[in-house]
């Protein structure tokens, strides 16, 4: 099967195989990504992040239905953490999205963070490219917002939606500090619970403090995802942000910065790989030995390695 031709035609089997190829770094992954690249950049990418159990998956399900009713096709990448002990994972986001499974205009893929989160954000971005090339209009990336690296995953997005819930207490402070600055749009989900007013005021106050380089003031929408409430308003405010990004040209800036980052990261990796190939392990060990015995210093060691490699 010509996986690229078929995925460009929207074949779900081909989309699925291509994502597996990039996720596992199969031999044909780079070739697939090279060939689909000219067909990417059309989708609008929305990151969804927030603490575990906030209702991100439930909200993604409802947002997708709203976008479908507005005539858009949707791709979803749902990322959950791998267990640090076994390396395995339970990926349970689909539970909230089963009604979307039979919709021909929707493709959902679950991914585990596996070992390196740095590698993960690249792979997520590549999976997004596959869905983009396959013609999805809107692509959601759902990820748990707890650490910096998960936040990196969401940086592949054009608009980032931060989902918070009332009543999480002080634990939320740390989380909020980290993800507040990446939020373009906020949802206070589980608005059927106590503490909505308080959380709303807290977020507004933190936004007041946030020195943003743009004049965009993130909107806060109250939702009850499990009852499909506030969803139309939330899509409206996402769309408002998207329109603002386009109108101001910020979308090009954001995408340019992302592309630059992508190239630099790949260059870094390629250089590392090249170094490992060029500098014999024994040579490296010997230098390390010299340095640890204070017969040499690390600065000179690096210089001499570079001089050898770059000559």
């Amino acid at each position: 099967m010509d996986i690229v031709a078929e995925l460009l035609n929207g074949s779900k089997l081909a989309i699925s195989r291509a994502i597996t190829a990039v996720e596992n770094e199969y031999g044909d992954a780079v070739e697939i990504l090279q060939k689909i690249y000219p067909h990417t950049g059309r989708a609008y990418v929305i990151g969804i992040t927030g603490p575990p159990g906030a209702g991100k998956s439930t909200l993604t399900d409802k947002l997708t239905k709203e976008y479908r009713s507005r005539g858009k096709t949707v791709g979803i990448i749902a990322v959950d953490p791998s267990s640090p002990f076994s390396g395995g994972a339970i990926l349970g986001d689909r539970i909230r999205m089963n009604e979307l499974t039979m919709d021909e205009g929707v493709f959902i893929r679950s991914m585990a963070t596996r070992g390196s989160l740095g590698g993960m954000s690249r792979k997520t971005a590549e999976a997004v490219k596959v869905l983009d090339a396959a013609g999805k209009d809107i692509i959601f990336i759902e990820t748990v917002g707890v650490g910096q690296s998960e936040v990196d995953i969401v940086k592949a997005a054009d608009t980032t939606l931060v989902v918070l819930v009332p009543g999480l207490g002080d634990d939320i402070q740390a989380i909020k500090a980290g993800i507040l600055e990446i939020g373009d749009v906020f949802a206070i989900n589980k608005a059927d619970r106590d503490g909505v007013e308080r959380l709303h005021i807290e977020i507004e106050m933190m936004l007041d403090l946030d020195q943003n380089e743009t004049e965009w003031r993130p909107k806060i929408t109250r939702t009850i995802a499990s009852q499909n409430q506030g969803v139309v308003e939330l899509v409206d405010s996402i769309e408002e942000h998207a329109a603002y990004m386009v109108k101001t040209g910020l979308i090009q800036k954001r995408r340019f910065a992302r592309t630059r980052n992508e190239i630099l990261t790949m260059l870094d990796e390629a250089i590392q790989a090249y170094l490992k190939k060029k500098v014999a392990n024994s040579r490296f060990e010997a230098l390390t030995e010299e340095v640890s015995q204070r017969k040499n210093d690390p600065y000179s060691a690096v210089k001499s390695i570079l001089a050898e490699v770059l000559k």
Partner: protein, 130 residues
Amino acid sequence: MEKRIRVLVAKPGLDGHDRGAKVVARALRDAGFEVIYTGIRLTPEQIAEAALQEDVNVVALSLLSGAHNTLFPRIVEIMKQKGIKDVLTIGGGVIPDADIPGLKAAGIAEVFTPGTPTEKIIEFIKANVK
């Protein structure tokens, strides 16, 4: 990058609880597998479609309601129609011995009845995954 075995754990049919399926899901995670858990009361069409989108290596079906003779083979059939090859399909639940040969003939690689230690399931998957 190491490749990980991906397993779809699904419960077709109308029986309501999924304690058994969850125990299996956790055991598989602890064995290092990536488990896509889809919850209860899925149709065969939904299960086959989820297997397609998730590109899983294994589909593990659990059923207590007694409809296994129709539902399990139907799922295998739809997966074939969708062009999914190389997937290992296994089943578990309250399944009479007499039904097992028929299920195997229909493409269910192995059937695990209640009380089977989860290690057995893990071993079977490791030995037979394609």
